[in-house]
Amino acid sequence: MSDRGTYQPFTYYQLMETSLRELLVEKGLVTDEQVNAEVAAMRARQPERGARVVAKAWIDDAFRQRLLKNGTAACEELGLEIPALRLVVVENTPQVHNAIVCTLCSCYPRVLLGIPPDWYKSRNYRSRMVREPRAVLAEFGLRIPEAVQIRVHDSTADMRYLVLPMRPQGTEGWDEARLAGIVTRDSMIGVAVPTIG
């Protein structure tokens, strides 16, 4: 347990995973094929999916308005199913910068962003983000001007937030795919902003 960054060939928890899985297969509760298919689907869920949503909102104002009104329904238009979850999209403006945290656990729109990174689930981020967001963002190298308000959103198990970042200047005339290329995972939870070059 002392070195959590390295995974030994077979730890106690890996033993538990293998054993539980075999037990569930024996009982007919899951099949190995289902588990493998689910893992493959998980690998396919990458931040590029969220980036598509953001880029679309930047070039299509009607879509942007639908997205802000009902995030779940707007994502479904793009073929991105968000099962049983309410997705709330919050828009950055010159006056307001939004950021997301789940203080209680790890709730994050993984359908759009992939499995959350470790730091997002860390004690330090979860504890401090709601109290001193400006300081935390600065540690990430993101300095938000004092005049800009920072709004922090705390997720729950039943609803998720996605930040719609501001489209950077200098991207006029870019097509959707090129725009999507500058939208990072971290910019969609508000700890970074999209930049060009």
């Binding site: 293998t18 054993s19 569930l24 009982k27 979860r126 401090r128 709601v130």
Partner: protein, 101 residues
């Protein structure tokens, strides 16, 4: 007054955020997959899983990695649901461990 749970850490003093990442190994992804499948099939709910993570003793909560917490909670939930028993799991773990040697 209700005491704040160990998991309920919003606003508490804490250290610098280290933006660490690791590539999730297969066994962690399989834990995730089992959870999604059992949830999708209506065998367990997200709230049970959450409750069992929150019920971990504080030192375990802090020490265990994310998917170590998940596998602990998933196992506990399935036992509570009567879908598996501690004995069955214990036997299986012994069997798998011997096979691996």
């Amino acid at each position: 007054m209700i005491q704040r749970g160990h998991h309920d850490m919003g606003g508490q003093p804490a250290g610098k955020v280290e933006p660490t990442e690791h590539d999730y190994p297969e066994w962690e992804r399989r834990v995730d997959a089992m959870v999604q499948l059992l949830r999708g099939g209506g065998r367990i709910t997200v709230d049970e899983l959450r409750k069992n993570i929150e019920a971990l003793p504080p030192d375990a909560y802090d020490k265990l990695s994310y998917y170590e917490k998940w596998i602990s909670s998933l196992t506990q939930t399935l036992i509570q649901r009567g879908l598996i028993t501690t004995e069955e799991l214990g036997r299986k773990m012994q069997e798998v461990e011997q096979r691996k040697r």
